[in-house]
Symmetry: C2
Subunit: 171 residues, 2 copies
């Protein structure tokens, strides 16, 4: 297991803090890092083999069978090039199947295979449960507060069922 802070750095000798460490971007990156590590550990402990992105894609495809890759990408906020590779790997593991769309000959419709449905069913409770371990330093109340603020911070893009605004950073 990857040791985040070798013990020697808590010994007498210690490095100086940086400007970066107080910045929002750095804190968010650290949270993301922690989050993906918790996910990997818990999924592995459950005997499953899925990355966070692969899980998100399976979930989105399950909820929208027959959607095309661009739709799945938009739903979980990924670049279409990224999602292409993710679905390549899911297909290689026989978790999803792609069929050419008849409506649009450019598009490929994506669906879960039985193995994909099965794996998603197994993974869902594990992933749901692990969400509480992502923010271990917070109380239940603080965690809820944090998630509210996170949702609000993401702005209208996250609430596309309420408004039609797009991501605030795409000018």
């Amino acid at each position: 297991m990857y040791i985040l802070f070798p013990s020697r750095y808590f010994a007498p000798m210690s490095l100086k803090h940086t400007h970066v460490q107080h910045m929002a971007g750095h804190l968010i990156r650290r949270l993301h890092q922690s989050s993906t590590q918790v996910f990997a550990a818990r999924i592995k402990a459950a005997g499953l083999d899925l990355t966070p992105v692969q899980f998100a894609a399976l979930d989105a495809i399950h909820a929208n069978p027959g959607a095309d890759q661009a739709g799945i990408a938009a739903l979980i906020a990924y670049d279409k090039a990224t999602i292409g590779g993710v679905i390549d790997r899911l297909e290689a593991k026989d978790l999803v199947a792609r069929t050419p769309s008849k409506r649009d000959r450019r598009a490929r419709e994506v669906r879960l295979t039985e193995a994909g449905e099965s794996l998603l069913t197994q993974a869902m409770p594990v992933v749901s449960k692990l969400q509480d371990d992502i923010l271990p330093g917070l109380s239940l109340e603080e965690r809820a507060q944090f998630l509210d603020l996170a949702r609000k911070a993401l702005g209208p893009a996250d609430n596309h069922h309420k408004s039609s605004a797009r991501d605030p950073f795409c000018h």
Copy 2:
């Protein structure tokens, strides 16, 4: 520029929400995504060429000239393999220099070159300023609250000046 949500997905037709979208891990990933995109856009607008990680590394090396790679990695919470590649690229751009350590012949001491110091000086105000744009949906007060919660969520690992605890996920 990358369009996060193609407009057709706000048209009459719309995909179903997923379980993932309500989860902490997903929200954190979205924040990280937004954060890196804001960083890239602002740095590019300033005529500079630096990734968030490269900036963090420059900042850490500036604050600790002569530290070895493992020290820099620990300071900004990166894997030593990752930081090795980052410093490779910084060295290729002549922003840092590596010299073999005399104390420890395994280690390589890292320092900023003049070009590195100069670039960091240019980048610092840009990066400081952009932090406020990372959480655009939040008021000043909410932003401070969010950052407090984030710091607390990261737990004792982030407060290594206060305690000697390590990352809670390294069992």
